[in-house]
């Protein structure tokens, strides 16, 4: 999976695109793990270009969230589409992965 990455100093923004599923989730999760290990545990995942997410994609986000929090950081999602929001709502995962409207909002206190 090809995804854009923007290092903004205090945080890193990752932007996957297309389907966030079994195929595309592992590379993103691996990159999140690399960033956390490299001392950059504040990560925003910009989902504006994602039109579908399945349980593997959710798992990558939850795994990344867990890894980031263990290192004192956080993983936040921004610009989620209707399908992503609906899946988060249905599984109640919006309780721990609250979708922010924009990347700027997601990193407002970093």
């Amino acid at each position: 999976m090809i995804f854009n990455e923007l290092d903004e100093g205090t945080s890193v923004t990752l932007q996957p695109s297309g389907k966030f599923d079994l195929v595309s989730a592992p590379p993103l999760k691996a990159r999140i793990d690399d960033l956390v290990r490299a001392g950059k545990p504040r990560i925003v995942v910009d989902l504006s270009a994602v039109d579908f997410i399945d349980s593997s994609g959710l798992g990558a986000l939850i795994g990344g969230l867990k890894a980031a929090r263990q290192e004192g950081g956080d993983l936040r999602i921004a610009c989620a589409g209707d399908q992503v929001k609906a899946v988060l709502k249905l599984t109640n995962l919006d309780r721990i992965l609250a979708p922010y409207g924009t990347v700027e909002e997601a990193r407002h206190d970093w």
Binding site: K19, D54, G59, D82, I96
Partner: protein, 226 residues
């Protein structure tokens, strides 16, 4: 009655069990991911939950299952959604826990109501305690647990409601609830993009480890009633 054929072919958890003082327990779950690891963890969650269900109420069984499977879920970065319901056919009383499943309800000629709770799935990086809720089915109602990715849950519920009205006899009046139908239509929207009809599975097909392949499911087999 509930049919376990689907569970034998998938990594999801569909576990009918009638060993609880003549009560029927139905479990529908999904372990995140695909492949052998997800299948093994799904089997573990299913077996552990079935074991704890022998000695605990529904809420206690789910909490005990989390404690037992926590290490494996966390070590493999997995999580599992669950809907667990235990129905007493003699009274219609149903105890249930919804751990991030979200698509279960009671359907009857007067409409439907959700049996959902705001709990997280098992395996989240935050503390959670699952407590059971209760409801009572009227004689003309039936529980319905819908699997993820169902194409048209609203259509299914309307069909069930019409069936329930027919069961009451020719004089029965169907009382639809358009607001509820709209709510379901919004919920189903999240699954529409990826829905492409696949050929039905045959007995000699290799095991499909996708836990949420709607087309292989006979939704009639997933409902039960007193």
């Amino acid at each position: 009655m509930v049919d376990g054929r689907a569970a034998a072919r998938e990594a999801g958890i569909l576990s009918p069990d009638d060993g609880h003082d003549n009560r029927l327990q139905v479990v529908l779950g999904d372990v995140m991911g695909k492949g052998l690891a997800a299948s093994l963890i799904a089997s573990e969650v299913r077996a552990v939950l079935r074991g704890h269900s022998r000695y605990s109420d529904v809420g206690g069984a789910v909490n005990a299952t989390w404690l037992t499977t926590r290490h494996d879920l966390e070590a493999n970065s997995r999580f599992s959604t669950l809907w667990v319901g235990r129905l007493d056919p003699s009274t219609g009383a149903i105890e249930y826990v919804d751990a991030g499943h979200g698509l279960a309800g009671i359907v009857g000629p007067r409409g439907w109501r959700l049996l959902s709770q705001p709990f997280l799935p098992l395996g989240m990086p935050v503390d959670e305690t699952w407590t059971q809720a209760t409801d009572v089915l009227a004689e003309d109602e039936q529980p319905l647990v819908v699997r993820r990715r169902l194409r048209r849950p609203g259509r299914l519920l309307r069909r069930r409601r019409r069936q329930a009205a027919r069961d009451l006899g020719p004089g029965a009046e169907l009382q639809g609830d358009r607001r509820q139908d709209r709510h379901l239509r919004r919920r189903r929207g999240c699954y529409r993009r990826r829905h492409r009809r696949r050929p039905a599975a045959r007995p000699d097909d290799p095991i499909d480890d996708d836990p949420i392949d709607t087309d292989a499911i006979d939704t009639d087999a997933m409902t039960t009633g007193p």
